[in-house]
Symmetry: C2
């Protein structure tokens, strides 16, 4: 079994990007705005990681923090301000937002040209249309990039995705279906209403777990020799750790490593790829803004 090292691949991606940004004229730097509402610990840690990576690749960032009780109207006015600010190329609204502000409304409020998260309806539509001028959500595009850089062939493979979220499952299925050297797969999407999950997952040449339930992909559910991509990042109580929790994927690692040919760990698998792809999207937003100017 070969472990797919997400940290290492993400580092390759960000280093290549850092080289491109270093080559820009001195007064030209991509800039991303992070919008965070409240103090959800996971959100705090994700945004911090994104800020650090941005700094490392030479992307400027601004953090916009708002209290948990900010109104929908006020938050949207802040997003509008960032939309209108020509010095900002990308905007990321960290989810989940407090329950009085629907995540999807906030995602659609960000202008499609600055939607580096790829959650805006126009960018989802472009993904359906195989129009590469849009932004693709970072986790799905990170999965594809990871497979590509690991040398795993996609065309003609049977890809099974467990999970139908708007953030991962659906856009990833559209990516794998593209008429493209990194697409052309046969794609099955399973979810909580799939009665015979293991019959389906056992057919996968490439199995992607993106449900958010720790360890639900067991060894007997995986075809020998398959590539298994674990998108789940679940906080599981662990009193032996200072933090009080451990991060666990959707894959039962100990069982699946006996069966799979390639497997991503959690942490250190898809997570860093997501952050790296966010940087690529920000650089793309910067370039597109330049093309429009």
């Amino acid at each position: 079994m070969e472990l797919i090292n997400g940290n290492q691949i993400a580092q390759q991606v960000t280093e290549e990007l850092a080289n491109e940004i270093r080559a820009l004229p001195e007064n030209q730097r991509p800039k991303v705005a992070f919008v965070r509402v409240g103090e959800d610990p996971a959100s705090v840690s994700y945004v911090r990681k994104k800020e650090k990576t941005a700094a490392a690749v030479g992307i400027d960032s601004e953090l916009h923090l708002f209290p948990e009780d900010i109104s929908r109207e006020d938050l949207f006015a802040e997003i509008d301000r960032l939309n209108a600010d020509p010095s900002i190329h990308g905007i990321l609204v960290q989810s989940p937002l407090p329950s009085h502000i629907p995540d999807q409304e906030a995602f659609d409020r960000v202008s499609a040209e600055k939607d580096v998260d790829g959650f805006h309806k126009v960018n989802l539509g472009k993904l359906c249309q195989e129009d590469s001028s849009g932004f693709v959500a970072c986790t799905p595009s990170g999965v594809i990039e990871m497979l590509d850089r690991t040398g795993i062939n996609i065309p003609g493979k049977h890809v099974v995705i467990v999970g139908r979220s708007l953030i991962v499952g659906k856009p990833l299925s559209l990516l794998f279906l593209r008429r493209d050297p990194l697409g052309d797969a046969t794609v099955t999407v399973c979810h909580s209403k799939t009665p015979n999950l293991e019959e389906i997952t056992r057919q996968a040449d490439i199995l992607v777990a993106a449900v958010g339930r720790p360890g639900i992909i067991r060894g007997h559910m995986v075809k020998p020799g398959a590539t298994v991509i674990d998108v789940g990042i679940n906080r599981v109580e662990d009193s032996s750790r200072k933090s009080g929790y451990a991060l666990k994927g959707d894959v039962n690692f100990e069982e699946v490593e006996q069966v799979a040919a390639h497997l991503t760990p959690v942490p250190g698998g898809v997570g860093p790829m997501t952050v790296a792809m966010l940087m690529k999207n920000t650089y793309k937003a910067f370039q597109l803004a330049g093309d429009r100017a």
Copy 2:
């Protein structure tokens, strides 16, 4: 084997709609504009069928005909005019357009609020988001309506779609995946790059053929008792007919009727459903315009 009678189901749909429209105040009628470029015989016949059905349900229609050599700019100016005309609720640009005008650009030129074909990127994005305020393409929504009215249960079923077009395969896969009493299926999308097509199609509880190749779904590719939906409408030479051609589906009817429990014929299956759903979309566009006013 029970034949699914698309003509009859479409008639139910349009009669229900006709009743609703009849109940509107006298000066309020939905209106759709058909845009046709050139004289492609299939397009001529499709648009004529749509005009007839509109008249039958009480929807006003206008036909806008343009010569094959109309420029992209001129056609788009005509679409802009229709977008701006408040008396027009829905706009349908009949494809295929001549090769100097990309279909997708024309579809995206129609304003999303009048896009009764459901091909605009904003409506595709809403479909991904399971936002029911958008328009869904008529053939995929017709397939769902047909299954519903035939009493075929969808949740938990394995749906296999052969074909990944933007017009049928992709939106249909998103519909079957919705968290909805008419969704919640496990969905596999196959296509020309699927190496082992029959292994996959034989797993389908509901098999949808949407590739545009006459008769490619053979009897041995179908699970006994499956529901088979034939979206293909292929013109096949037939010198015994006055027209010189016959319409054939993607399904080998003689073979598959021995195996399937439910099967749609061609013609008289999905085709009339597509036209009926166009009328439903036009009525929805009319209602949404009223809500906005």
